[in-house]
């Protein structure tokens, strides 16, 4: 059943979750569904209008480190109330998908909430961008594209990223032709504290290699 005359919105398919692809974050996926549901709501049903907004708000917190301890239960409860009382199928479809993600990837959701980790490295707040000191060729292409001026370096120097300034826009990753820049989760590569010449830094010692002769 539908409340308005608009065509029903198509949400991402359940198979996304069922196939458990490595690069898919189930929480981020749920957030996209909530976003879409809220944007496409005609406004005539409380559950769709406010429910999708509320879930979207909670999920946004969840992927940005602001989750609260009961959030997963809260989302589960909201989904079930919405499912039971909503006036039209559009929002029911949406919350069924969100429930599916929560139920089949509970661990990953927990990890977002409690460990602030995103295994698929999709949730920007839980990702760090770093330059591998061994791969960097000191070309400076990344410096050019960074809108935040978060990269420091110079010709022939190993570039480093100021995490505080970085907004995880990923522009540098695309710009680097040596694939030296990548997203990292819990384990970060060792990087020099300041730009040093290419070839003078080893991961093993974390020290500058003495230049011979």
């Amino acid at each position: 059943m539908k409340t308005c005359e608009k065509d029903k919105t198509t949400f991402p398919p359940a198979s996304d979750i069922l196939e458990k692809k490595d690069d898919l974050c189930p929480v981020d996926w749920a957030l996209k569904i909530a976003d879409l549901a809220s944007a496409e709501s005609c406004g005539k049903c409380l559950m769709c209008r406010e429910g999708s907004l509320q879930i979207r708000t909670i999920l946004t917190d969840l992927v940005s480190g602001r989750g609260e301890s009961d959030d997963l239960e809260l989302i589960a409860d909201l989904c079930s109330v919405i499912n039971e009382t909503a006036s039209c199928d559009q929002i029911r479809d949406a919350v069924s998908l969100i429930e599916l993600s929560l139920n089949s990837c509970r661990e990953e959701w927990e990890s977002h909430l409690r460990r602030k980790r995103c295994a698929a490295l999709q949730c920007a707040a839980y990702v760090t961008i770093a330059v591998s000191p061994e791969t960097c060729q000191g070309c400076g292409a990344c410096v050019e594209v960074c809108p935040e001026n978060a990269l420091a370096g110079g010709e022939g120097l190993i570039h480093i990223i100021d995490s505080g300034k970085c907004t995880r826009c990923l522009a540098c990753i695309d710009a680097c032709s040596f694939e030296a820049i990548a997203k990292y989760g819990a384990v970060l590569p060792k990087v020099p504290a300041e730009p040093v010449p290419v070839g003078t830094f080893t991961v093993e010692t974390g020290r500058r290699r003495r230049r011979r002769g």
Binding site: G43, K44, L46, M47, E50, Q54, T57, L74, L78
Partner: protein, 697 residues
């Protein structure tokens, strides 16, 4: 209609065929929470508060038709959880500052929060962005941050009014209630009927200055509480006789009022927030002049004779109104009028060119036909002559018929008159001994009446001297403008010092410029004048138009106030003498015609109780059909301009005493009536019952 029996919470309840479970429960006194539903609107099923259990399933009771043998459960832990979650969602984007909302304590959302014991707690608060649309409108205030998007307004505008300018809209992924293309209400051709305001359960929609404006401001402003929007609507529909009858339900002089009523109603008309007030008086005059069928004559019936007799001293608006309603209550009424003509100010005060005498005569003869006996040229000297001989009650309604004069040096000159004396003698067909130039002292409507009468009597030069500066005069703007057109010279901001005479002949009025003035306690005048600005306005006749008093004396047999008015008990018309009542100008001093009629009504009601009646003088003279609420779109409604009042040309005006005011044409009357916002339509909208109403039951 088939009756259906169902069970709600174990109680057998009957419902009409097609009725929803929600309405069946509410009718049976079982409260089911709800906020998007409204008794006059189709169900939307938006708010989910009305969930109930039916055969183990959760359904919305507003959208479930009652069926024979149905078993419905309205209370359970699970339902409570669903309702609370719905409330939490509603409150998530609602401001928390209930106390600063105009609907505080008069809000269905707040009442529902109390009932469900909801709190802003579990959920995130989600502020809305689209709340600034369409917040700058006349009459209707929209505080959309308080909107819960229940859609009642959308449905009311469409279903009750057939206007349909409100809709759910979506912008930047957020829905809100607005108009097509976000037009302002004026641009969208809103009728400003307030239906949306009436149904809004929150403080989101408010009527401008709700606290100071009554729902139907014109009717509330009218001293006689005439049902203005009703007769305006009937006039628009071409039902002139019914329109006049509506007026007659409250006052027996619709024609006279149509000519000269001061229309305090128009001052309060809500339409003036859009452009100008509805020209209510002109609509009244047109309807009254076109009352061919005279429905009221058929429908008005005097009650069976009570055998009680009432004497009324004074046949002015107050006395005759009281006489009409007292005879309607079955009492035998006789009115004593000291002058040879009945009507008081209507026939011997207000000049004929403003209020044609045949109009007054026809309205008075209608009263006579209804059993009111009037004895003219017969004055009442003392209530002793009447009380018990054989009258059971007496009403003093002699008015304030004595024009005051201020004792300036020279004011005792024989060429100095009071305005009322001039107006009266002209009305009685006499020619007052005026000279070639007249100066009227005073700036109110009576001053203009006197001045304009002098002009019509052929006085060459007519001046008017008043304390007030231009723009602050007490007279109506229309009077001032027409007076000037007719050649009257107005001296503003002048205080009179003396009347100057040369031998026997009056020479003129000595005045001085006023810089500032105010009235202190007891009406004492505080003046600042400009030294050396004295001047003499030459004139051989002077007319005082500075207020009126009664001619009552102790001989009448009732207590008087220190100012000579009849003393009455607070909030009553009863005088110091049992069985003797007083009302109108006799008590209050000069007031408006419509106020005198309202006073006459009040006196009639009080005297009826004294005479053993129930005091109810209300009459229903036409059928009370429910007005058509579906007013539809009227293009450019807010901009419809007021039809000007029709007056005859200046040179025709100056020729004599024929009436100068002509009624609207049928087209003008219709288009003027079309401008009315029909503020009363709101009163036809039901009030949604809240849980507290059920507790009271």
């Amino acid at each position: 209609m088939k009756e259906i029996k169902l069970e709600i919470d174990g109680i057998e309840v009957s419902a009409r065929e097609g009725q929803s479970v929600l309405n069946a429960a509410l009718d049976a006194g079982i409260f089911i929470p709800n906020i998007c539903s409204h008794p006059d609107l189709s169900p939307q099923g938006e708010c989910k508060l009305c969930v109930v259990e039916l055969r183990g399933e959760t359904v919305l009771s507003c959208r479930t038709e009652a069926a024979e043998g149905m078993k419905v459960v309205t209370k359970s832990e699970h339902l409570a959880h669903l309702r609370n979650t719905a409330m939490e969602l509603m409150l998530a984007s609602h401001p928390h500052d209930c106390t600063s909302c105009r609907s505080y304590l008069n809000c269905e959302l707040q009442s529902m929060m109390q009932y469900l014991e909801s709190v802003h707690a579990r959920l995130r608060s989600v502020p809305k962005k689209n709340i600034k649309w369409n917040t700058n409108n006349p009459i209707i205030l929209r505080e959309m941050e308080r909107c819960i998007q229940c859609g009642r307004c959308v449905r009311a505008c469409r279903e009750l009014r057939d206007v349909g300018i409100l809709e759910y809209r979506v912008l930047d992924g957020e829905s809100y209630i607005g108009t097509a293309e976000n037009k302002t209400l004026t641009e969208a051709d809103c009728r400003f009927c307030g239906a949306c305001v009436a149904v809004c359960p929150t403080g989101a929609l408010q009527m401008d200055e709700e606290t100071t404006y009554p729902v139907v401001p014109c009717r509330a402003a009218c001293p006689a509480e005439v049902d203005i929007p009703r007769y305006v609507r009937l006039t628009k529909e071409g039902r002139y006789s019914e329109a006049t009858t509506v007026i007659r339900e409250k006052v027996p002089f619709p024609l006279a009022l149509g000519h000269v009523c001061n229309h305090v109603c128009e001052t309060e008309c809500r339409r003036k927030e859009l452009n100008e007030a509805v020209s209510i008086r002109e609509i009244k005059l047109f309807a009254a002049q076109n009352d061919r069928a005279e429905i009221w004559k058929t429908n008005h019936k005097n009650k069976p004779a009570t055998g009680r007799k009432v004497a009324i001293a004074g046949s002015g608006a107050c006395g005759l109104t009281a006489a009409y309603y007292l005879s309607a209550k079955g009492h035998e009424v006789k009115v004593f009028e000291r002058l040879p003509v009945a009507g008081g100010m209507m026939s011997t005060g207000i000049p004929e060119y403003r209020l044609p005498r045949d109009v007054v005569e026809s309205e008075i003869s209608a009263l006579r036909e209804n059993g009111v006996e009037i004895e003219t040229s017969s004055s009442v000297e003392s209530v002793e002559d009447l009380l018990g001989k054989p009258y059971d009650a007496v009403l003093l309604a002699v008015g304030a018929s004595v024009g005051k004069k201020i004792p300036f040096p020279g004011a005792d000159h024989p060429s100095v008159f009071a305005a009322l004396d001039i107006l009266r003698s002209v009305s009685l067909g006499e020619t007052p001994p005026l000279g070639k130039s007249v100066t009227v002292l005073g700036g109110g409507n009576v001053a203009f009446d006197a001045a304009r009468v002098c002009t019509r009597l052929g006085v060459e030069k007519v001046n008017l001297v008043c304390l007030e500066p231009e723009g602050a005069m007490l007279a109506d703007d229309e009077e001032i403008q027409q007076g000037q057109e007719e050649g009257i010279t107005i001296f503003n901001s002048k205080s009179t010092l003396s009347l100057e005479a040369d031998g026997d002949a009056l020479m003129g009025v000595k005045v001085i410029d006023v810089l500032e003035f105010s009235f202190g306690p007891g009406g004492k005048l505080n003046l600042t004048t400009k030294p050396g600005s004295e001047q003499i306005i030459p004139s051989d006749t002077v007319v005082f138009a500075v207020g009126q008093k009664t001619d009552l004396s102790e001989a009448m047999g009732v207590d008087l106030t220190p100012f000579g008015f009849a003393a009455v008990r607070e909030g009553s018309c009863a005088t110091s003498r049992e069985g003797v009542f007083a009302a109108g100008d006799t008590v209050t001093g000069t007031r408006l015609l419509i106020e005198a009629m309202a006073a006459g009504r009040k006196a009639a009601s009080e005297m009826d109780i004294f005479l053993g009646g129930d005091g109810n003088i209300e009459e229903i003279l036409t059928s009370r059909d429910t007005p058509e609420g579906k007013i539809g779109i009227n293009e450019g409604f807010a901009g419809l301009e007021r039809n000007p009042v029709n007056f005859i040309d200046l040179d025709e005006r100056l020729k004599g005493f024929t009436g100068i005011h002509c009624a609207y044409t049928a087209d003008q009357a219709k288009s003027e009536a079309e401008r009315c916002l029909q503020c009363d339509l709101r009163s036809c909208i039901s009030k949604n019952k809240t849980w507290t109403d059920f507790i009271k039951q």
